[in-house]
């Protein structure tokens, strides 16, 4: 990838017997909003901590803005901003005092930047109110304000909308989009709220059990989230068996509610519905739909084992 600003090659990190990051390689494009998606314990935060220098990899290489050595990486991180796990703030200080302190920490001489970023995130009127009296949404916004202080080229955000109400989620999402469009800031964002990422990201990285499952651009993902035939009958387990044995259809996934999705032979809808009917099954739902990000994610990362088990369980029941 020509315009990659961050490259990770064969990164490994083990904590005791647990491999948190297992031979991870990826690249982040300049100007992208990259969603890092995976279940709890997938390795997202560990990966972000390794990018940030908090956690040392056991092996592998990280390149940021073309630099590899630990000394150079420390310098290049000053061009980035991170919010990992919780946003940083001294509880006993006000928003302005916190950001002034961060200006000193980052070596930012112009303290007027503090008022500028506070107004960007909508915290300009908090006055002397201590951060300990802030709501969760306000603390998240303060964290983003701190991340903006140094005019970063890259922002790494670990679940920045966690705990926010829907209004707060929309505010943060719009802010990230605006920063990416107006200031060309590259964003790496992890989240469990997949629906929100689908409105935001230009690239996706799916990770599970410490391994990268897929790196894909949004456009490609939209093509992959193809049409499918959504079926729900009065006996879905039997329907699976019938479709597999009578029609040889293999690409079937099972939703949480037990209904089926067929991803092949979509031009044979009539044959499929007739076959089901001829085998005594009553179709309750028969529709062509497109998979959304959550379904794609569940299929790729989260629920593969559960799906296979469910199909075998369905076979046992029939």
């Amino acid at each position: 990838m020509e315009n990659a600003i961050i490259t990770v090659e064969h990164l490994v990190k083990q904590f005791g017997k647990h491999k948190a990051v297992d031979d991870v390689s990826l690249q982040i494009r300049k100007g992208s909003i990259c969603g890092l998606i995976g279940p709890n314990g997938a390795g997202k935060t560990t990966l972000m901590k390794m990018l940030g220098g908090l956690v040392m990899p056991d092996s592998g290489k990280i390149t940021i803005f073309g630099k590899e050595s630990e000394n150079d990486l420390a310098h290049e991180r000053s061009r980035m901003s991170f919010i990992i796990e919780t946003p940083y703030a001294k509880q006993g200080m006000s928003a302005k005092e916190n950001l002034t302190k961060q200006c000193y920490q980052k070596g930012i001489p112009d303290l007027s930047r503090v008022d500028e970023v506070l107004s960007i995130v909508g915290l300009g009127d908090t006055g002397k109110k201590s951060v300990k009296n802030f709501s969760l949404g306000m603390r998240q916004r303060l964290g983003i304000a701190g991340a903006l202080l140094s005019r970063p080229e890259v922002m790494v955000l670990d679940e920045p909308v966690n705990g926010l109400d829907p209004e707060g989620i929309v505010e943060v999402r719009d802010l990230i989009t605006k920063l990416n469009h107006d200031q060309d800031i590259t964003v790496i964002i992890s989240s469990h709220i997949l629906a929100e990422l689908s409105h935001l990201c230009t690239d996706y990285i799916f990770i599970n059990n410490g391994q990268i499952k897929q790196c894909i651009e949004a456009e490609q993902l939209r093509a992959m989230c193809q049409e499918n035939y959504h079926i729900h009958t009065d006996n879905d387990p039997l329907a699976v068996a019938v479709l597999q044995e009578k029609l040889g259809i293999k690409d079937i996934s099972v939703d949480k509610d037990g209904s089926l999705r067929i991803h092949e032979r979509l031009d044979e809808k009539r044959l499929i519905s007739e076959t089901l009917y001829q085998n005594g099954l009553v179709p309750l739902i028969l529709e062509i739909t497109e998979a959304d990000l959550e379904q794609y994610y569940m299929k790729l990362v989260g629920e593969n084992n559960v799906e296979h088990r469910k199909i075998s369980e369905l076979h046992d029941k029939t």
Partner: protein, 264 residues
């Protein structure tokens, strides 16, 4: 590194704990002057006479408050992820480590000056320095004490960095103080004939600031107490070498460990 020092100073100025420590230091200094006046009997309380009264107190008390200060500077910022974010901001780990060590030294030297030297300066202004001990010799004792303070500060700081907790650092520091003072009592009780001088920090400081060996002199028509406070060359050499070697070794080992460990 100096960015971190500036930001730490900014936090210290906005931390009520800092003002409590300053107030405590001033209370100790003022109450010590009052105590010394009441203990001096008929003798004029000059600056040099107060050195003897104040000596052992300095040796112990000047280590208790610096433990608070050091653990606050070196350990507290692990609780709220300040250290984490300094690394994320692109600060090198050496800057994160040594900025806090240097600031601990600076603040503890200031605290030492407030508690140990300020009362003597006030008394000197009021009653003059006197003849109980020469100023140069008193200064020599204080400089050696400072070296021991730096040694002790380094120990507490490194322990706190390794534990990543101001409370563990403080608890360990106070336990260490008790541990170091215990041999003194045991040796005195059992009359072992062996004296701890430079081997441990607290006994080292107590030895340096021990002015119990006195004689009476007659100067300007008055009886005065004269301190026989000359230190054995082995004590001086041991103090300096122990301070330098222990400080350097502790700093190197702690930094190497801090540099390699994950910060979670």
């Amino acid at each position: 590194m100096w960015n971190i020092v500036r930001s730490l100073n900014y936090t210290i100025k906005h931390d009520i704990y800092s003002y409590i420590m300053v107030l405590l230091g001033l209370i100790i200094a003022v109450s010590s002057i009052v105590t010394m006046f009441s203990d001096s009997g008929g003798e004029t309380l000059t600056g040099s006479l107060a050195v003897g009264y104040w000596g052992t107190f300095i040796a112990v008390f000047c280590f208790m408050l610096p433990a608070f200060v050091t653990t606050r500077i070196c350990g507290y910022d692990f609780n709220d992820k300040t250290v984490n974010y300094e690394v994320l901001y692109g600060q090198k780990r050496s800057a994160v480590f040594f900025s806090r060590i240097i600031l601990s030294y600076i603040y503890n030297i200031i605290l030492f000056a407030v508690i140990a030297i300020a009362p003597l300066a006030v008394l000197t202004l009021m009653n003059g320095w006197g003849h109980s001990i020469s100023m140069s010799e008193a200064l020599f004792h204080f400089v050696l004490s400072l070296m021991v303070l730096i040694r002790y500060t380094t120990f507490i700081a490194c322990l706190t960095f390794l534990a990543r907790s101001s409370w563990i650092g403080l608890a360990a520091g106070y336990l260490m103080m008790i541990f170091e003072m215990l041999p003194l009592f045991v040796m005195e009780l059992m009359n072992l004939g062996f004296e701890l001088t430079w081997q441990l920090s607290i006994p080292n400081a107590m030895k340096i600031m021990d002015f119990s060996n006195t004689a009476m002199g007659f100067v300007d028509g008055k009886d005065i107490t004269i301190y026989k406070a000359a230190l054995d060359s082995s004590v001086v050499t041991g103090t300096v070498l122990a301070a330098v070697i222990e400080t350097v070794l502790l700093l190197i080992c702690s930094y190497v460990l801090f540099r390699k460990r994950d910060i979670d």
